[in-house]
C-alpha cells in the first residue's frame, strides 16, 4: 500500500485525524500531569523516595515546593538502620482527585490513537519512508550540515522529504510515547504486582517516575519547537494542510 498523498505534499486523512486526537490527548495529559506533579514536585532515583529522602530534583512549581510543616520524626530502631518517619502538619496543594482521573482519560485516548497511528504508519510506509532518520540521518556530515542550515536560518521547505533534524525530532518524540506509557504503568501498584517486569525495566518506582518526567520534558520541548516551526513556515497554510488537507507547498 503506497501512501501517495504525503509524497505529493498532502497529509493523508488518517495522518490528519490521528494528529488532532493525539494533540488533544497530549494537551489533556500535560495539564493533568503537571497538576499531579505539583502535589509533590520532587524527583528521586530508585525504588522509593519521599520528603525524608534525598531528591535529585526539586522544582519550584506551586506552593508545595519545600513546604515546611513536619512534626518531630519518629525513629525506628529495629529496622537495622536509621529509618525515620515524620508526620506532615501542613495542608498542601493537592488537586489530584480530578487530575488523576482526567490523566487516565487522556492516557486511554493516547494509547488508542497512538496504536491507530502506529498501525497506519507501518502499513502505509509513511513511518519508514518519511519519519525515520534513514541512512542520511545516521551520517554525521549530513547531520552537521543540517544543523548549520538551521543555525543560519536558511529557509526550509516543509517536507516531505523532511530534513535530517526534523526526522530525528519525529523519531525521538514517537519513541518517547511508549516510554511515557510504560513508565506510567510502572507507577501503578496493581500493574506492577501483575507484571513486575514493568518496574524492573526502569529499576524502581521512583526511577520510573523520574523517567516519566524526563520523557514529558522531551515531548513538551518537541511541541514548543513544532509550534514555532509551524508559525515560521506559513502557519495558515500548515494548519489548512493538517485540517482540510490542502497542499503544504
Amino acid at each position: 500500500m503506497v501512501d501517495q498523498h504525503s509524497s505529493v505534499g498532502h497529509h493523508a486523512r488518517w495522518v490528519r485525524a490521528t494528529h488532532w486526537v493525539l494533540a488533544l490527548a497530549v494537551l489533556v495529559l500535560a495539564i493533568s500531569g503537571v497538576t499531579i506533579f505539583m502535589a509533590h514536585p520532587r524527583l528521586y532515583w530508585g525504588q522509593a523516595g519521599n520528603d525524608m529522602t534525598a531528591a535529585w530534583l526539586e522544582l519550584p512549581i506551586g506552593p508545595n515546593y519545600r513546604h515546611g510543616g513536619w512534626a518531630v520524626p519518629v525513629h525506628f530502631t529495629t529496622a537495622g538502620q536509621d529509618v525515620i518517619s515524620a508526620s506532615r502538619t501542613a495542608i498542601i496543594f493537592n488537586q489530584n482527585g480530578w487530575a488523576r482521573s482526567l490523566h487516565f482519560i487522556g492516557a486511554w485516548l493516547l494509547v488508542a490513537s497512538g496504536l491507530a497511528y502506529a498501525l497506519f504508519a507501518s502499513v502505509t510506509g509513511h513511518g519508514w519512508r518519511n519519519l525515520l532518520p534513514g541512512r542520511e540521518g545516521l551520517m554525521p556530515a549530513a547531520l552537521l550540515a543540517d544543523i548549520r542550515a538551521h543555525l543560519a536560518h536558511r529557509p526550509v521547505r516543509p517536507g516531505p522529504p523532511y530534513n535530517v533534524l526534523q526526522r530525528w525530532a519525529y523519531t525521538l518524540v514517537l519513541m518517547a510515547v511508549p516510554v511515557m506509557v510504560f513508565s506510567g504503568l510502572a507507577m501503578s501498584p496493581y500493574v506492577t504486582a501483575g507484571y513486575p517486569w514493568v518496574i524492573d525495566l526502569f529499576g524502581g518506582h521512583q526511577t520510573a517516575r523520574s523517567v516519566h518526567f524526563l520523557a514529558f520534558s522531551l515531548i513538551a520541548l518537541f511541541v514548543v519547537v513544532h509550534a514555532v516551526m509551524v508559525l515560521r513556515t506559513g502557519a495558515l497554510r500548515q494548519v489548512q494542510a493538517m485540517t482540510i488537507g490542502l497542499k503544504r507547498n
Binding site: 525504588q47 518517619s85 515524620a86 508526620s87 506532615r88 482527585g97 486511554w108 501498584p189 496493581y190 504486582a193
Partner: protein, 250 residues
Amino acid sequence: MDMSRRTVLAGMAAGSGLLLGGCSENPPTYGNVLRMGDWFTYNAQRLLIPRGVLAREYDRGDITSTIGVGTVNPGNDHEPGFNPGGGPLWAQLAANDFKDWSIEVAGAVARPGRYSLDALMRFKARTQITRHTCEEGWSAISEWTGVPLRAVLEHAGIKPSARFVKFETFDAYQDSIDMFDVLHPQTILAYGMNGAHLPHGHGAPLRVRVETQLGYKSVKFLRRIVVTEHFDDGGKNGNIAAGYSWFAGI
C-alpha cells in the same frame, strides 16, 4: 514462583466459596465523565491482570524513611479530617495506649462482634515489606505486621453474599474495597510497622494495608469494619466526595 502464588490463592478462593473479584457489581460512574474513565480502568485492569498476584515484597535493607500524611492525629480538631464523633474518643484511647480500644466487625457476617488488639494479635501474624505508593507521587518501603483481613472475617463468619468491605475510622473518613482486595493475602490489618507499634501518624492502633492500590486505600485509624452486600463508597465521608477515584489500582 508467581505461578505457585497464583495457584495457592485460586485454591483458597475455591475452597471458601467466597466470590473472588467483585465483578458482579461494578463501582458506579455517577454519570460523570471522570468516573467513567475510572470505571474503564477498573474493568480493564481486572480483566488484564492475572488473578491473585502479590505486590512485590522487599528485603529489610530496602526499608526507607517515610512520612505520615492526611490525618496524623485524629484528636487534633485543627486537622481537616477531624471528626467530632470520633476524634476525642481516639485521643482518650491513645492516652491509655489503646488498651481499651477494640474494633467492631459488622454487616454480612454470622458472628458480629468486637476484637481487641490482643485478640487480633492472637491470630497468625503476617509480616510484609512493601512499597507504599502515595497518590501524591512519593513512595516509601516499610515493614508491616498484622493479621490478614480474610482471617478475621472468616472468624466472624463472613457470608457468601459478601461483595465489599467498608472501613470506618476515628477521623472523618471511610472507604471500601471489593472482594478481590478483601481476600488478597497481603491485605492485612496492621498493628506493627518496622518492628514497632503502629505510630500515631500512620494510623494507630490499626490500619488496613491494601498493597495493590494507592496509599489512600490503606485506611488508617480503624474503628469499624462492615461487610456489605452492595457497593458502598462511604457517601459524604468517602473518597468520591473528596474527589478521589474509588478504585486506585490505577
